[in-house]
């Protein structure tokens, strides 16, 4: 992953123009839900027309900067292009434009709403007075509300009309609370996405149901419960008499049935067991009611006597819970329970984690991380092979070929492309599915062992990628002019920015498959965190030769055969005459598609004979369906993600 060297804040040049109303108008607001041209994270991209304000940088609007800073004093912390606190305010004083101000105010309102966001950019388009403003959107609806509130606030400051900042902040806070993940889920999601774990997460419902990992490797969490948390075990914990009886049968000390607490008294402790390990322990402060609130218990994890820890783990096993909060009463947690008439008083499924995350005293415990390590042991990331295919043309064909190779290799393969949505040979949806939504559907599918997703330029520009990172990125031939005129794209550099998004997200152990003949390739190649495999019809291209000379791999045509070439070796995979696609419709375009797809298959480690069989038998028409029944348009439309207001 490289840093993108762009100016975060591009000031528009103030040119002589025609007069308009001084207003900020949203022409379009795009929700980019995955990696995009701006950043790896979801953003809102607003197309903003600032009209006559184009003539009026901030320093020319009387009293504006003071009003703005008075309403939002925390803007003083924004660094902006000066990279120091106060940087943005300095820009305000020096003069900056409304779109840029809108960006900062939106971010600040998100901060004030309780959703800290750092990323924002404002850029002019080719049209005078019209900007693209991108702001990080951790939660889409909240970001959208902040964007609108920011527009109103900025306009009020410009026009010197009253604006109730406090009321706005409250409204936004409420909205944020409504959508925010609960603290239990949030700490696990944070732990999963942490750099050293890199587990992808997908929110499945607004109600804290979160998917970790992709496809068949996914696990689910819901608050402090996992998909392995047994419903029966949870039921047992709700029956205190039964819980006590079962624990007692295993000779665990339990409290008297009537009193609920042992006779000897003592302090209340909560021990958190994950898997078969004690990961945290807290002692409730005097006067505190229970462990549900933060700052009410002292962390005592390091003091727990090993026998007591073993007892807590056994209690969790007896009940049958993978994650359990074991409540016990003891005078001194550093001593065995038996020595002090200590006893277990309850076992909880779905224990609150706040008590360990925010103890009243002592160290906060990384309980989210402990649960994630339990769900994904040994550094597993929960990823399945994800292949992203982008480019100006041939992407559908490449995507279908790669999916076919994966399917032949024995993996249940999901494919989202312009020809539809497939799981192996079954076409789930016959409409154009080369989009974010369809990619998402595949990544959610617990059957999918590998996924191929076609992302056209429009998807990257208008929706974002469906995945955070991928194993393989394929960029087919780029034809910049084809993309001009949409999304304010009018220069080849911008087209480069679009397609590089795909290369940027390649995992460290992954591979980017690039067209050696493409003029943009040399610039794109170093952006990949993983390996690069080049493809080209002509094996003598200097790019191919150079790449191979540096130890790189390439796929090309030599003589009448398709060849897999590494630094020194060349392996002829298949004679061109045997490639069904080429036999049916010989053309360089098809040939390049085959080369790209074969390169991807090679990158995926698929056996040569499987790839060979794939190219010998694949034809897009014959494989559309397995023929068990005619494909009828699905009468059922997929729902958008349900919200639990």
């Amino acid at each position: 992953m490289r840093n993108r060297k762009e100016n975060a804040c591009v000031t528009a040049m103030c040119d002589v123009g025609f007069m308009q109303r001084k207003a900020i108008r949203f022409l379009n607001i795009l929700s980019l839900r995955g990696p995009n041209i701006w950043t790896y994270r979801p953003v809102l991209e607003a197309w903003v027309d600032i009209g006559a304000l184009e003539e009026c940088p901030s320093n020319t609007l009387p009293g504006f900067v003071d009003r703005l800073c008075a309403w939002l004093p925390t803007l003083a912390g924004h660094r902006c292009s000066y990279d120091e606190p106060g940087g943005f305010v300095r820009r305000l004083h020096e003069g900056t434009w409304a779109a840029h101000i809108l960006e900062h105010v939106t971010l600040e309102l998100q901060n004030l709403a309780g959703i800290p966001c750092g990323f924002g950019k404002a850029r002019e388009t080719g049209v005078r007075g019209i900007y693209k403003v991108a702001v990080r959107a951790r939660q889409e609806d909240v970001a959208r509300a902040c964007l609108h509130a920011a527009r109103d606030l900025v306009m009020a400051a410009i026009e010197d009309t009253p604006f109730d900042v406090e009321a706005t902040q409250q409204q936004l806070q409420e909205l944020a609370r409504k959508y925010q993940l609960g603290p239990n889920t949030a700490c696990m999601v944070d732990a999963a996405t942490a750099m050293d774990r890199g587990i992808p997460t997908l929110q499945l419902s607004a109600d804290n149901l979160v998917q970790l990992g992709y496809g068949s490797r996914q696990r689910r969490i819901w608050a402090a419960e996992t998909d392995h948390t047994s419903a029966i075990a949870e039921g047992i914990t709700r029956n205190s008499e039964l819980t006590r009886r079962l624990l007692k049968a295993c000779a665990l000390p339990v409290a008297d049935a009537d009193k609920g607490e042992p006779e000897g008294g003592g302090q209340r402790h909560r021990l958190l067991v994950v898997g078969d390990t004690l990961v945290a322990a807290a002692r409730l402060d005097a006067g505190a009611e229970n462990f549900s609130l933060p700052h009410t218990a002292a962390d005592v994890t390091d003091q727990v006597h090993p026998e007591t820890a073993a007892a807590a783990c056994l209690a969790a096993r007896v009940i049958g819970l993978d994650i359990a909060g074991v409540d016990l009463v003891a005078h001194d947690i550093a001593c065995p329970l038996a020595s002090q008439d200590g006893a277990i008083t309850a076992v909880h499924a779905c224990p609150g984690l706040l008590t360990h995350l925010q103890p009243a005293s002592g160290e906060p415990r990384p309980v989210g991380r402990a649960i994630i390590d339990h769900l994904f042991p040994n550094g597993d990331t929960g990823r399945i092979p994800v292949v992203g295919v982008t480019g100006s043309s041939g992407t559908t064909e490449v995507a279908r070929l790669v999916a076919e190779f994966l399917r032949l290799s024995g993996k249940i393969t999901g494919l989202a492309c312009a020809d539809g949505l497939f799981l192996n040979r079954r076409r789930i949806d016959a409409s154009d599915c080369g989009n974010w939504q369809s990619g998402r559907r595949l990544l959610m599918n617990c059957s999918a062992e590998a996924v191929v997703i076609e992302n056209g330029a429009d998807v990257i520009l208008g929706q974002g990628l469906a995945y955070d990172r991928c194993q393989i990125a394929v960029v087919t031939r780029i034809d910049p002019a084809r993309h001009f005129g949409k999304y304010h794209i009018d220069r080849p550099e911008q087209v480069f920015q679009v397609f590089r998004s795909q290369v940027d997200v390649v995992l460290r152990g992954g591979v980017a498959v690039l067209d050696a003949a493409d003029p943009m390739m040399p610039e794109m190649l170093p952006l990949c965190d993983g390996e690069v495999i080049l493809f080209a019809i002509d094996p003598t291209l200097p790019e191919i030769l150079e790449h191979r000379s540096r130890g790189g791999r390439a796929v090309f045509i030599r003589g009448d055969g398709l060849v897999l070439g590494s630094a020194t070796d060349e392996a002829s995979l298949v004679p061109l005459t045997e490639i069904l696609l080429i036999a049916e419709a010989p053309s360089n375009e098809h040939l390049e598609s085959v080369l790209a797809a074969v390169a991807a298959a090679w990158a995926l480690g698929i056996a040569h004979h499987v790839i060979r069989t794939g190219v010998q038998t694949f034809s897009p028409d014959s494989n559309a369906n397995d023929g068990t029944h005619p494909t009828t348009p699905d009468p059922i439309t997929p729902h958008s993600m349900p919200t639990h207001a």
């Binding site: 419902s205 419960e225 295993c250 617990c446 059957s447 068990t628 009828t632």
Partner: protein, 851 residues
């Protein structure tokens, strides 16, 4: 007739392998022979005609037995066993009656007693009321049809089960291998999966994502929004509560604004969130997915009647309800059709009221939903389901995250894929009812319980862990410890119960006499245990039966002259053998009984063993052992300073000097224990290398085996502390002592008051021939004896002693020990027969340190 005691035998017992009520009953003089109690039998049969025929000369205890049995049989409990036996006490009988449900058995016993009293005193007895009470209780406590089917499937596979609650929570298998179910949920059923299934909208979202057809629709905010949603969908819709169950508040196939609004109002009473979705035409189907497989499918029909042109709808419903298969709950195949407001509303929609007489052949729906619990019927269609449709059902279960899942599908038929018709999955249910698949109203029943069991237990897995039971008069505890040790050497976490306590992987988790069934059950419940070794004392077997149904290896060390004779109507060694033999009856068909060939009563138990037998004896020429070996069967004996395990020409040899427990083979009773344990380990298939290693590193000292031949050196004299307390144990100790060098021999002994006089006397009779000095002591606890009584008996035993020259009497165990130690000279040997093990050993250890 007086019932002195009632006990519940929850496992294999003296009488049978069945669960049973066991009572001790005292019959009055005139009740000993019913033939001589005029009119009693007639009055009894008048009150309970179905009672079985009596044997001539039967006592009233038998009437009680047959009544308790007959009452259970009458309500359909599958019971087969009952017995009444006279004890050696005149007029006292033991009555045993099998039960299938413990509380039903007890109630039947109580009702049988009332019946006998009523017949005796010529008082009324309300038989129908009694049977109804029993029936209601039985319905309440017995497993429901879903759980029952799963349990039956487990039993058929030989998987042990145990109910953990009076409800439907059941444990299958033992220890580490245990699994649990609750109704149609497995322990692996995810709480998240259940939450997802509860949320219909989320379910639809996930299903649609994976390409499972679902009806369009959404949650609505109010009645007006419900109508808006209905318009968006177009065509007929279903209005239902979002978090409902059993079809409550659901209105289907409605189109008009009024209907939608009214349906919203009804649904919003059930749940705050109401959904409006596309109505899918066709039938309701329930597809049952277990694991990754479609196991059963049923077409479900709402309750309805067919007009005959004569009867009113109400009469027609009554007629349908008169079907004996229809009951009031979930327990029967069908449930009675309820006639309530929903029924009336449904009728009103069709233009009927309850008293309307529909024309002949007219089909009148009584409800819109097809749930069995409101009177619906189910028709098995499992064999019709198209493979694609089955695949969608499995995908639906996977996407929701449920391993047992009822997928509700609406479509024209299941012969075609959903995609080829306007069909869809409308709901996914956790913990689905299995009744409709087990006993559908029409069509074939499906092996649903088997499917659940085979998901939890692979084909050759029965959830059992290696289980060894040990019984005998002496040597039990050491043998149990040694077998547990050998099993532990294989890396398994061994659960062990004995008369000292309960141990898991060597760690004591409970102390006291834990040789009863409760401790055994706790071990088998413990989630860590991978193998179990139980000492099975007679007390527990008599009181409650065994704590397990079957064992891999059963060891009977010896019976000898017996111990505790005279308690619980066990008066002879033969009686005792019957008790100890219970574990031999429980040996699995591929299991092994390890029996002492030198003890004729133990050797005789071989006939009771369903599995094979391994005999052990010091002398290979012991008749029983020699015969057994000659037949190529397994035997263990001693030869040339080695323990030899032999089968045909096979020989496994272990040098006695490599078994420290035996002190180079000098302590014969420890040699026997080692042989028994070796034979047991052999029976468990433990490799010989491990058995050898285990015998070599087995530690038997005061710390690990308190009171089990603990040897100390005290001022150059030898001290032996042992808990031996019956003539056989004393004999064994004497043998050991005689093999050890000593100038003078001392013994410290008391007697337990609950033994027979002759047994107490015999102990000192044996000792008197071997020991020079005897110190008799008595402690506070005399177990029902007068002060000095036991001491006098002990003294009597010494009257003809050939060796004893000095006898002392001391009050207090510790003082007696001190008295002996004082007299001890270097080179002497002192055997201390301790009673309060812990205190005595602590005391000896203290004196040992002082010296």
């Amino acid at each position: 007739m007086n019932i002195i005691r009632i006990q519940t035998l929850r496992g294999p017992n003296l009488w049978s392998l069945h669960t049973a009520i066991q009572a001790v009953v005292r019959c009055a003089e005139n009740e000993l022979c019913l033939d001589q109690l005029p009119g009693f039998e007639d009055r009894l049969r008048e009150r309970f005609p179905q009672i079985a025929a009596f044997q001539p000369g039967t006592a009233m205890a038998s009437a009680l037995e047959l009544a308790a049995f007959g009452l259970q049989a009458q309500i359909g409990c599958p019971v087969a066993f009952s017995r009444s036996v006279a004890t050696y006490e005149p007029g006292v009988y033991q009555v045993v009656v099998e039960y299938t449900e413990e509380s039903v058995g007890h109630l039947a016993f109580e009702l049988a007693r009332e019946l006998c009293v009523a017949a005796h005193d010529d008082l009324p007895f309300d038989l129908p009321a009694a049977l109804e009470r029993l029936r209601i209780l039985n319905e309440e406590v017995r497993l429901g049809p879903s759980t029952g089917a799963i349990v039956a499937a487990a039993v058929a596979r030989g998987i042990p089960f145990r109910r953990l609650t009076e409800g439907s929570l059941v444990q299958f298998g033992w220890g580490r291998k245990q699994r649990r179910i609750q109704a149609a949920e497995m322990d692996s059923t995810s709480v998240i999966g259940e939450s997802v299934a509860q949320d219909k909208e989320l379910t639809k979202y996930l299903l649609a994502s994976a390409g499972v057809p679902v009806p369009m629709g959404r949650t609505v905010t109010d009645a007006e929004d419900a109508w808006t949603a209905a318009c968006e969908i177009g065509g007929p819709v279903v209005v239902k509560p979002r978090d409902g169950h059993q079809g409550k508040g659901v209105a289907a196939n409605i189109e008009s604004r009024e209907d939608v609004m009214a349906a919203y109002a009804a649904a919003s009473e059930i749940s705050a969130k109401v959904m409006v979705e596309q109505y899918l035409p066709g039938h309701d189907f329930r597809l049952l997915v277990i694991g990754n497989r479609l196991v059963a499918a049923a077409r479900r029909e709402p309750p309805h009647v067919i007009g005959d042109g004569e009867h009113s709808i109400r009469e027609l419903v009554d007629e349908v309800n008169s079907d004996p298969r229809r009951g009031d709950g979930h327990a029967t195949i069908l449930t009675r059709i309820r006639f309530d407001d929903i029924t009336l509303a449904t009728l009103a929609n069709q233009g009927f009221d309850a008293d309307a007489v529909p024309r002949k052949g007219a089909r009148v729906a009584l409800r819109n939903n097809a749930n069995l619990s409101t009177g619906g019927t189910a028709t098995d269609v499992t064999d019709d389901v198209h493979q694609d449709l089955a695949a969608r059902a499995v995908t639906a279960a996977n996407m929701v995250g449920l391993d047992v899942c009822g997928v509700d599908v609406v479509c024209e038929n299941v012969l075609k894929p959903l995609e080829s018709q306007t069909g869809g999955v409308i709901e996914v249910n956790a913990a689905p009812g299995l009744r409709m698949h087990l006993q559908p109203s029409f069509g074939k029943g499906r092996a649903v319980g088997e499917a659940i069991i085979s998901t939890m237990f692979p084909v050759h897995e029965d959830g059992r862990i290696p289980l060894v039971a040990v019984a005998g008069t002496n040597g039990k505890t050491t043998t149990v410890r040694l077998i547990a040790h050998l099993l532990g050497q294989t890396g398994k976490r061994v659960g062990m119960t004995n008369s000292d306590g309960v141990y898991i992987a060597g760690r004591c988790i409970d102390t006291g006499d834990c040789s009863g069934p409760r401790s055994a059950r706790n071990i088998l419940f413990h989630p860590d245990v991978e193998a179990a070794v139980f000492e099975t004392a007679r007390g527990g077997i008599l009181r409650e039966g065994l704590g397990f149904d079957r064992c891999n290896v059963a060891v009977v060390t010896n019976i000898g002259m017996g111990d505790h004779l005279g308690l619980n109507y066990i008066s002879t060694v033969e009686d005792l053998a019957v008790v100890k033999r219970v574990i031999i009856h429980s040996v699995a068909q591929n299991g092994v009984a390890v029996l002492n060939a030198a003890d004729p009563i133990v050797a005789g138990m071989a006939r009771a063993c369903p599995g094979s037998v391994t005999f052990f004896a010091h002398d290979r020429h012991e008749r029983v052992l020699a015969n057994h070996l000659a037949q190529g069967k397994r035997g263990v004996f001693v030869e040339d300073g080695q323990i030899i395990a032999a089968k045909g020409k096979l020989r496994f040899r272990i040098d006695m000097e490599d078994i420290p427990l035996t002190r180079n083979g000098t302590i014969l009773f420890q040699v026997e224990n080692a042989m028994a344990a070796t034979a047991a380990a052999w029976g468990l298939g433990i490799p010989w290398g491990i058995i050898r290693r285990g015998l070599a590193n087995f530690v038997n000292d005061a710390k690990t085996a308190p009171g089990r031949f603990n040897v100390f050196n005290y001022r150059k004299a030898t001290l032996i502390a042992d808990y031996g307390h019956n003539p056989d144990a004393i004999r064994a100790l004497v043998q050991a002592v005689e093999s050890m060098p000593a100038k003078r021999r001392y013994v410290v002994i008391s007697g337990a008051g609950d033994r027979r006089d002759c047994d107490i006397r015999l102990q000192t009779e044996i000792l008197g021939d071997v020991f020079d000095e005897v110190i008799l002591y008595q402690d506070d606890c005399q177990r029902g004896r007068a002060d000095g009584e036991v001491l006098a008996l002990l003294r009597e035993g010494l009257v003809n002693a050939c060796r004893t020259t000095h006898i002392e009497e001391i009050r207090g165990e510790l003082l007696a020990i001190d008295a002996a130690l004082l007299r001890l000279q270097p080179g002497d040997l002192c055997l201390i027969l301790i009673d309060r093990i812990e205190e005595a050993l602590a005391h000896i250890a203290m004196r040992h340190t002082e010296a």
